[in-house]
Symmetry: C2
Subunit: 125 residues, 2 copies
């Protein structure tokens, strides 16, 4: 299951080193796009973007579902569905401790995405 795959996987995205060069530097290959697109797709919903922000900015690095759900006017199952989407996109990790489930951001992945979108500042145009 962890025998260095031929293609890039989501697990690789949490590494310290950048997986890819910035979007604007050179054309990204199809395989890379296929791996990264789902992460952007997961962030492409207002509710999930807010959830991601709440999780990533949580004071202790993690936040309880019980604090996330009441922040939206949506049913519990719907929030759970969005959290699962973020999980499957590799953006967050879930961890059950007793009654409550805590979510924490995979900062490595966020950093990779930020690097990918980074744009050179032009030298005085």
């Amino acid at each position: 299951m962890s025998k260095q795959p031929a293609v890039l996987t989501l697990a690789d995205l949490n590494a310290a080193e950048p997986c890819c060069t910035p979007l604007a530097e050179r054309r990204i290959p199809a395989e890379t796009a296929a791996v990264l697109a789902p992460a952007f797709k997961a962030l492409g919903d207002p509710v999930r973007l807010q959830l991601m922000s709440m999780i990533a900015s949580a004071p202790d690095g993690e936040i309880c579902v019980c604090d996330l759900t009441p922040a939206f006017e949506l049913s519990g199952p719907t929030i759970s569905h969005h959290l699962r989407t973020l999980r499957e996109a590799g953006l967050v990790d879930a961890d059950r401790r007793g009654t409550w489930v805590y979510y924490r951001a995979r900062t490595g992945v966020l950093r990779q995405l930020a690097t990918l979108l980074a744009v050179e500042v032009l030298p005085t145009s």
Copy 2:
């Protein structure tokens, strides 16, 4: 139509100054999420991510549709549809000059998105 709206708009995203604080710094408000999510959504498709990269990394800052279409095994209308999506998300601008249409990246918007995803590096944990 352009009388300084109460809420953030896509046009603001191309400004030089950052529109928002990073995701992980503080929770982003619902209105901000509603404006930014469509941009991530547009990047959430492998074809569009590659298109975006091809446009952003074009040597002259712009690239012809006639160079984009043959790079994929997709019909012309389908590529056109994806380009429209990128356009409506505010990520690219289109410009017809004679027979050909050229696309260029709105680097300001890309920069905003990168800033939003930026993550602080922890001080030796």
